[in-house]
């Protein structure tokens, strides 16, 4: 018997209602998607195609206009289901808390015993290389380290589904590759399903088992590329003979969609 998908989207559409001065925006869909348990799925697409909206719909942060979203067989409606963690592109560290308190934030009201909370925080500090900065405040850290704090805060909750919205968007290329390695290691360790939004084709090709390509707005999934990389991989996968072929296929599909977006933007200016 085949295992039921971890996440299921059927006919999902999102239309943002217009205000008096603006027209409604058809942002997303229709989208059909199944994510398998423990899969690493990445999404690429032109700017403004609805990638982040798709992530927020799966997270339960944005209600759908049409269609259904289910996580572990239960419908996602209006609130983030238990077992889902989200890492945002923007800095979401809490500036008034030190690194340890930031990481422990979600655990404070989890009902877990204190020693278990401490164990998880300690492990996350070690995993993310933040032990020496446990007492530092976010303002004392670099952008990359703040993002690691946010990832650690998500990890300590031990989510079964991790949603990442361009988490390395603000980082330099070298740090992105290293953070990618970290992410792959965490994915293997936790066994969670990962849904990653990125605008970098090489990042998607390096990290994911499967990559969904989105069309220009309203965003639909128009292609799905399977990388077939071994589970035990890291950033050196870029040397693989097939790596170029994967990124080339992504770009071939994406180029036309990006041109459509660019054309629309130029027409509107």
């Amino acid at each position: 018997m085949t295992e039921a998908p971890h996440v299921t989207l059927r006919g999902v559409r999102k239309v943002f209602a217009g205000t008096g001065a603006t027209s409604p925006v058809d942002a997303l869909g229709p989208v059909d998607l199944d994510l398998a348990h423990g899969e690493f799925f990445a999404v690429v697409g032109p700017s403004g195609c609805g990638k982040s909206t798709l992530l927020e719909v799966i997270a339960g942060l944005t209600p759908v206009s049409e269609g259904t979203v289910a996580f572990e067989g239960k419908p996602v409606r209006g609130e983030v289901p238990d077992g889902v963690g989200v890492v945002f592109q923007e800095d979401a560290s809490l500036p008034w808390l030190d690194v340890t308190a930031n990481i422990a934030f979600g655990l404070r009201h989890s009902g877990l015993p204190a020693d278990e909370r401490e164990r998880r925080v300690r492990r996350a500090l070690e995993l993310m290389g933040l032990v020496d900065f446990a007492g530092s405040y976010p303002a004392q850290l670099s952008g990359g380290m703040r993002q690691r704090v946010c990832i650690a805060r998500t990890l300590v909750m031990e989510p079964r589904l991790i949603l990442l919205d361009e988490p390395f968007g603000a980082l330099d290329q070298q740090t992105r590759l290293l953070m990618g390695d970290e992410l792959l290691r965490l994915w293997r360790t936790t066994g969670a399903t990962v849904f990653l939004i990125t605008h970098a084709l090489d990042e998607a090709a390096m990290l994911a088992d499967r990559i969904g390509v989105m069309s220009a707005r309203p965003g639909r999934l128009i292609d799905a590329v399977e990388t077939r990389w071994p589970r035990d991989r890291d950033s050196r996968i870029v040397e693989h003979a097939e790596f170029g072929a994967v990124t080339a296929r992504l770009w071939k599909t994406l180029r036309e969609e990006s041109l459509k977006t660019l054309g629309a933007q130029m027409r509107s200016t």
Binding site: A59, L61, E90, D91, A92, P95
Partner: protein, 250 residues
């Protein structure tokens, strides 16, 4: 001590020195004011005598109650109002013009309703202080980044916990600005009310000393109010500085 602090102290010292010289030279007569060194001596004597302990307790106690009420009511009301767009839009012009209203004009009415006790004075202090807390709390809440609100939702925090764990802590430096103003306004409200009509407190004692030409009591009491106000403000400013430094904002 920074160069700026030294300059500030020099300005204060120069002002006191000028006043001292003018008094000693007779340019300011003794009925108007005694020299600052005598004010300082009388200040120490007055405090040491314990004669004003009751008045100090009454004024500071009432100001503390007025401030505490303003802080609790102001922060809670602002947190509620922040989620109510229509009501916020309705009340915004009132907040913007609030300090154009002479709150002391309500004092006789408050005396008629609550009598000559402490309640009208506390209420005047509260009325002056509360809007500063509301306006500054709203200002802080308006600046909470959307990503932190989303973070709260990811952690499935309800409205109350979102306020106590995310939005109000984020807004803390702005609330502290409101707190600084509220402390000053509460003190102004209470002391001012005591001046107008009261049976005790520092404002009443200053007014009593003034009508009886008791400069040896009046000026030390004025200095006492200045010292209390400046000390509270300096403490809150240092706290605010620490808070902002921790957030890399100063």
């Amino acid at each position: 001590m920074t160069r700026l602090t030294i300059y500030r102290l020099l300005v204060v010292a120069a002002a006191i020195g000028t006043l001292e010289a003018l008094c000693l030279a007779g340019a300011i007569d003794r009925i108007t004011m005694q020299p600052p060194h005598e004010i300082a001596r009388d200040f120490v004597r007055l405090l040491a005598s314990g004669r004003m302990n009751g008045a100090i307790r009454k004024t500071l106690g009432n100001a503390a109650i007025a401030f505490g009420m303003a802080l609790a009511a102001g922060v809670s009301f602002a947190a509620l109002l922040h989620g109510m767009r229509a009501l916020r839009a309705t009340l915004d012009p009132l907040f913007a013009t609030y300090y154009a209203v002479p709150v002391f004009a309500f004092y006789p009415f408050l005396i008629v309703v609550f009598g000559l006790g402490d309640v009208p004075q506390v209420l005047i202090g509260f009325m002056l202080a509360v809007v500063a807390v509301i306006v500054n709390t709203l200002n802080g809440l308006d600046r909470v980044p959307r990503v932190l609100v989303k973070t709260a939702r990811v952690h499935r925090l309800g409205r109350l916990r979102m306020a106590t764990a995310i939005t109000l802590p984020f807004a803390a430096p702005y609330i502290l600005t409101g707190v600084k103003l509220a402390v000053a306004y509460a003190l102004i409200g209470v002391v001012g009310s005591e001046f107008i009509m009261s049976r005790g407190g520092l404002g009443y004692e200053i007014s009593f000393a003034y009508t009886n030409f008791e400069n040896a009591t009046m000026y030390p009491l004025i200095v006492l109010i200045l010292v209390i106000s400046i000390a509270l403000n300096a403490f809150l400013t240092a706290w605010e500085k620490r808070l902002l430094l921790r957030r890399g904002q100063r």
